[in-house]
Amino acid sequence: MTYHVSTAVFEGPLDLLLQLITRHQVDVTAVRLSDIVSEYLAYLEEMRRLDLDVTSEFLLIAATLIQLKAHALLPADAELDLDEELALMEERDRLLARLLTCVTFKDVAVVIRHRMQEANRFVPRISGIDQDIAVPAPEVVIPTDAVGLARIAASILAAPKDEPDLDHLDFDLPSVQAAIDELRVRISEEVTAGFDSLVAHCRRPVEVAAYFLALLELARWGFVEVSQEDWMSEIVVRHTGRGADDLTSEWAAP
């Protein structure tokens, strides 16, 4: 799946993350995590605005990034839960390993392309044995059975538009609709709030991501205004006073 967002073209969340990192590395040797996180989230927001499919894969990586950023902003003497700390390190290492694997395969794919282009200059003949030679047709072997043939036919005849829609599957993700409902109540009461305080009670990274999406949804309806001084600063959420009771979210359960 290829995403075209603003000036970027990327193949999924790992590719997006790699592009953001590479873009920064052109200018400086050390890349600031907070820059990457903010830009990554900005892309997700833009994707939502463009009605692109923000898959759970995007959200899971966003969640890890948000956690890492949050962790980095803690004061050095902050008391930390050791289990949480270890879990976060594990998540980080997994993400790093995935990035490195992804880079490795991208690199070797370029070599394979080059080799194929070189080999492609040797052109074979594809016409087979000419009919006028009248060699009797060989006793052919069909290298599959009826079930195998049906499977092949199904894979060819299932046009891309028939690709199964995964949105309805339950990933055990926290409900964005629930987060929307809750935020609507809380923001009406508080008028302005920082995003960090709104998600202070969240335990899992995916929950933070759910609230983030809920916020985007509310902003899209005009129920709240969202602002941020720069990439580094906290997201400030302000209630616009507009009611949104009659609106139904696309996150609502069917």
């Binding site: 894969e57 997994r94 390993a97 995935r98 490195l100 694997t101 490795t104 052109v123 074979p124 003949r125 594809i126 016409s127 087979g128 044995i129 000419d130 009919q131 030679i133 060699v135 009797p136 047709a137 060989p138 006793e139 052919v140 072997v141 069909i142 290298p143 599959t144 059975d145 009826a146 079930v147 043939l149 049906a150 499977r151 092949i152 036919a153 199904a154 894979s155 060819i156 005849l157 299932a158 028939d162 199964p164 995964l166 599957l169 990933f171």
Partner: protein, 189 residues
């Protein structure tokens, strides 16, 4: 590369005989020069004891295997390499089996790639046959599977082909998802 070698390469890869005028254009020489090159090519093929010969048929030129190669090609056609259906041919066969009667253009549209040589090879192997022509410009042929196809697949009639709906992949997708979200997949590069 000499025009002679380029000419040989063209007459080798082409699927249909190539007219002299077209050869002249591609090689950027005169038609007379093309005729002379073809003569030289055939003299060379002869001199190096080649199994190939350039012949003119249907208003154009093309390389063919020499008629004397017949017994060898006959033996070769029963070898494992020649008997095994290519992936492309297998796909075309699957399309024809489930969409018959179907034209080459329809097959190409369904598969998204040109399928002429696969269709030809299935025709030659007797797995598909012509089943009439469409009343469209050019009267394209439509194809169906043969009794040999049923026999090779070990079924009695087309009605015994497994229904396609059984093979649309939702179950696989669910399985794949579970795998994706199973934590701790080893990822060493």
């Amino acid at each position: 590369m000499s025009p002679l070698a380029a000419l040989e390469a063209i007459l080798f890869v082409t699927e249909a005989p190539v007219p002299v005028s077209e050869l002249a254009e591609v090689l950027e020489v005169t038609p007379d020069e093309v005729e002379r090159l073809i003569e030289e090519l055939n003299a060379n093929l002869e001199a190096r004891d080649s199994g190939l010969v350039a012949r003119s048929t249907a208003g154009g030129w093309r390389l063919y295997s020499r008629p004397e190669a017949y017994p060898y090609l006959e033996r070769f056609s029963s070898s494992a390499t020649a008997r095994r259906l290519s992936t492309a041919a297998l796909e075309v066969l699957a399309v024809v089996a489930y969409r018959q009667p179907v034209s080459r253009a329809q097959i190409a549209e369904i598969r998204g790639v040109d399928s002429d040589s696969a269709v030809r090879s299935l025709l030659r192997l007797g797995l598909i046959e012509e089943a009439g022509r469409l009343s469209l410009p050019g009267n394209p042929a439509v194809y169906r599977t043969t009794p040999l196809f049923l026999e090779k697949l070990g079924i009695g009639s087309l009605a015994e082909l497994p229904p396609l709906a059984d093979h649309v992949p939702p179950a696989e997708v669910v399985g794949a998802l579970e795998e994706t979200f199973r934590p701790g997949v080893a990822e060493g590069a």
